[in-house]
């Protein structure tokens, strides 16, 4: 990994820049996910842009950024989303942290590698949605859940994650490279 955010000083210029950009990314993703996509009737489900943002930040900045942005994404999802978001901070945090750790070992800087990561993350998200709808919703139907929630959400999340692949990379590049004393 070329770009890492293991800074020594918590208030270094680069860290502050990164926090601002990451926050902006998470905020924008949360807003778009809860406003733009639901307004488009052609899509049967909104993509989980927050998840792809968390995965992107974890991949490019490491597990700590992944975990923190995961908590932030969870707060965004809970604040802007409706019911069914109660455990999302934990889910996003774990996703970001795990991705950061795994990416350190074997992430290749290309889209294929990105889609493998995103497929795994989106699968976890689908499982989360499926379990939630199965246990938390009354009169839930497994087939309906798969057809109208799980599968569309999975494909939409993976498809639109490519945007966050580049945006998360930008959030890591713009503040500048890690200095030697970091």
């Amino acid at each position: 990994m070329e770009i890492q955010s293991q800074q020594s000083g918590p208030f270094s210029k680069r860290t502050v820049g990164m926090i601002i950009l990451d926050t902006l990314l998470i905020f924008t993703c949360g807003v778009i996910q809860t406003s733009f996509f639901p307004a488009l009737s052609i899509f049967r489900a909104s993509p989980d842009l927050l998840l792809s943002a968390v995965i992107g930040l974890a991949v490019w900045q490491g597990e700590k950024s992944g975990a923190v942005s995961g908590i932030g994404a969870g707060i965004m999802a809970m604040s802007l989303g409706g019911a069914g978001t109660a455990l999302l901070p934990v889910f996003y945090m774990l996703s970001g942290y795990l991705t950061g750790i795994i990416a350190k070992i074997n992430f290749k800087n290309n889209l294929l590698s990105w889609f493998i990561y995103m497929t795994a993350a989106a699968f976890s998200r689908s499982l989360f949605s499926f379990l939630y709808s199965l246990f938390a919703l009354r009169d839930s139907n497994m087939l309906v859940t798969f057809a109208y929630i799980v599968i569309p959400e999975f494909f939409m999340t993976v498809a639109f994650s490519v945007i966050n692949y580049y945006l998360a990379k930008l959030c890591s590049v713009i503040p500048g490279k890690k200095s030697e004393h970091e």
Partner: protein
């Protein structure tokens, strides 16, 4: 394995997990305690204008997308409506034909009642030779239908002209306004006789000329001119037209009059050919 264990036992991970759990649980606890969630409210407050903007953008795009998605349906609907429209047009056209025929037959019955000695053959105008200097109608009946040359052609409005040429399934007729055969004419109000004939200069205004009128006779503008049945191919009593102008022929010192025929020569579509009639000798 130890390395991985280290990650999940690190202080950072434990703190993060604790925060995440708290963030997940606290709002629910606050909600059940009847307390407001200030973090949620603040985030929502900040996001609201942006959400509004993005929703509008999404709705705008969705409008276009829905429009194009509906296009295929609209094409199909349009095709069906066109077919339906075409069918209805045909029905209206048929109904119009029936109405016209009904009207024609009603008038035909009127003429038949008035002229019980007439026998008719109805015909449609299937062609016109309307050059700059001549008008001629091609009619849909010919020798196969008993049509012969010089048979009078009329409409319910009045005299049209006569048959000049006959084919097996068609015939041609010229109107009285053409400079062709003259018509023995009669003004019923004053009992005045004369001859109606076409005039090259008057034919452009669909008018004809009544001449050889006794200079002592009483004729006025507005008098109705009918066929006299004398010295021509036309039976007696067919309306020709109305006098619009009266003058003197300087050459013969007789009266002349301009006659405006009743028949609308521009819009004739169906005519009746008088195939036989009784001659009167008064």
């Amino acid at each position: 394995m130890n390395g991985l264990k280290k990650f999940f036992t690190s202080k950072f991970f434990i703190v993060s997990l604790a925060v995440a759990v708290l963030v997940s649980i606290v709002p629910s606890v606050l909600y059940f305690m009847g307390q407001g969630d200030y973090v949620k409210a603040t985030v929502q407050l900040l996001a609201t204008p942006f959400q509004w903007c993005f929703t509008k953008v999404g709705e705008g795009i969705d409008g276009y997308v829905v429009y194009f998605r509906r296009m295929s349906g609209l094409f199909e609907e349009n095709r069906e409506l066109k077919t339906e429209l075409e069918e209805n047009r045909e029905k209206v056209y048929d109904a119009e034909l029936v109405r016209e025929e009904n009207e024609f037959l009603r008038k035909y019955l009127g003429i038949k009642a008035e002229h019980s000695d007439f026998t008719f053959q109805d015909a449609s105008v299937i062609g016109r030779e309307s050059t700059n200097y001549r008008t001629e109608y091609t009619l849909s009946k010919g020798s196969m239908h008993g049509i012969e040359k010089n048979m009078p052609v009329i409409t319910s409005d009045g005299l049209v002209g006569y048959v000049t040429e006959v084919g097996p399934t068609y015939c041609r007729a010229v109107p009285v306004t053409e400079n062709a055969k003259s018509v023995g004419a009669y003004i019923e109000r004053s009992g005045t006789l004369g001859v109606v004939e076409g005039s090259y200069s008057l034919s452009f205004g669909h008018l004809c000329l009544m001449s050889y009128i006794d200079p002592e006779s009483d004729i006025r503008v507005g008098d109705v001119v009918t066929t006299s049945g004398v010295g021509s191919i036309y039976p007696r009593g067919l309306d020709i037209g109305v006098i619009t102008e009266v003058g003197i022929d300087e050459g013969t010192r007789t009266l002349i009059a301009t006659v405006k025929p009743f028949a609308d020569f521009d819009n004739i579509s169906r005519v009746m050919i008088v195939t036989s009639y009784e001659l009167y000798s008064e």
